[in-house]
């Protein structure tokens, strides 16, 4: 790692219109990709995804970004606080987080799982869209993940019901429609879900078969 303590004094933060380097650090590669895509819309921004690995510090020092967006789940956050706060590994001083006077935005960011480290002196109007995009993207990712989990369990449920129907059809000589009606009636009588009845049938068949 180059020791920059002896290098030139602090360079000024970029003024409006100048290109901006945004580093994205996230333990989830999929989420990092979604965030990266969103941030490309920020005018004049160069977005670089940096893997959350042991050499993070070296890579960030080499990049010297204006803004670092990092997921709250990352244990590397403490590492960044040292890097930006106390040591002089980066040439420009970096202040933590969004405008301290903008509490609702800070809360929304933390709620969404975002923290950001920003070069001191970067103007609020340049930071705001970055954080807003990050919040939207992270929330969208969380929603997608929830939907995916739900879809997966729905699919598993359907497969289970299909198997239970098949077992009933061959054991009792029923049509598919009749088998399903039996399942549904049993579920209604016992105040349980169809999938629970189906699971019981499949388990029993597995044991007996």
């Amino acid at each position: 790692m180059p020791d920059r303590a002896t290098s030139s004094p602090a360079a000024p933060a970029p003024s409006p219109g100048e290109p901006l380097t945004i580093a994205v650090v996230d333990p989830s590669r999929a989420r990092a990709a979604i965030l990266e895509e969103g941030l490309r819309a920020v005018e004049g921004a160069r977005v670089v995804v940096i893997p959350d690995t042991a050499d993070l510090l070296d890579r960030l020092s080499a990049l010297s970004p204006d803004v670092v967006v990092i997921h709250l789940e990352s244990p590397s956050r403490d590492l960044l606080e040292q890097m930006f706060g106390v040591s002089r590994l980066v040439e420009r001083p970096v202040a933590m987080f969004v405008d301290r006077t903008d509490a609702p935005m800070m809360q929304a960011a933390v709620d969404a799982g975002i923290s950001a480290y920003i070069v001191d002196g970067l103007r609020a109007e340049r930071i705001k869209p970055i954080i807003e995009i990050a919040i939207l993207r992270f929330n969208a990712f969380a929603r997608l993940q929830r939907e995916l989990t739900e879809a997966k369990s729905e699919l598993a449920d359907r497969k289970l019901i299909e198997r239970a129907k098949g077992i009933l059809m061959s054991a009792k000589g029923l049509t598919e429609d009749e088998a399903y009606k039996q399942l549904r009636r049993k579920a209604m009588n016992e105040k349980r879900k169809i999938v629970d009845i189906a699971r019981a049938i499949v388990t029993a068949a597995d044991l007996l078969g």
Partner: protein, 331 residues
Amino acid sequence: MRLQLGYVPLTDAAVLIAAVERGFTAGEGLEVDLVAEPSWATLRDRLALGLLDGAHMLAPLALACHLGLSGPQARLIAPAALARNGNAVTLSLPLWQALDAESDALADVARALARVAEARAAEGRPLTLATVHPYSSHTYQWRRLLALGGSSLAAIRLVVVPPPRTVAALESGRIDGFCVGAPWSSVAVEAGVGRIAAFGAAIAPGCPEKVLALPVEMEDRAAPLLRALKQAARWCGDPAHHRDLAALLGAPRHLGLDPALILRGLAGALRLAPGGQLVEAADYLVLGEPELTPDQAALGWMVEEMAAAGQVEGTPADAAGLYRADLLAAA
């Protein structure tokens, strides 16, 4: 009352974890969700922004947050101290050999470390030593250890490594040593990659380690939680319970580590070197009811250390309001 309480999985979260898992909080009518946080910064932000009702926190970080030096500023109170001491300086085996200290005595180790640190700095390849957060007793213990031997933080490269990553960082050679809380030094020794060179308790006796930090708004509602912590601290302080406590802390939902390694820290009998003998260190980590009372002298010590590390200038007037022993006494 339902509370969300954050912690970072470490042995010194024992009193808080035991308060919940041994039923002391439930006995006080509290429903507590314990939330393991991945970093101190995340825990601090969630606490400061009201997403946590309280947390197990590095005492200097609680102070820094209270003073607006770190993260979003929040008025905090620390009505209980959760642990005293508990850190150890562990060096890579090559660095320990290079030290060639005359004995294991702190003064000898410090002198040898300072000599190597200065030599390496002169060669333009300073030692890389790890702490857990800029605002931590670990940072201050490095400063004191180097100063004791005649060197300073300026001679080394101080980096932060999250505790669960310390062992791998030491093994890979990315760092030459770390100062970290229990049980991570024992994990490094057991993995055969590190040598405990000094106990935090020797470098800074009676060092304030973790506190229970609450938003100041919790002031009037803290009593049931504080009563539960008293019972838990009493339970944790009894050596007869150390084995059960180690098993509880070692569970996958908390530290997810071998209880035998956690037990070493709780019992104050640690192996310094891979394959070495167990060494008695009675005050290595001190838990128990007497330790719960936050000590104003410890607060003063932290302010001095922050100033010495260049983190704060003078004595901030707001510092004194953080420690609230009165709330614990009244609970």
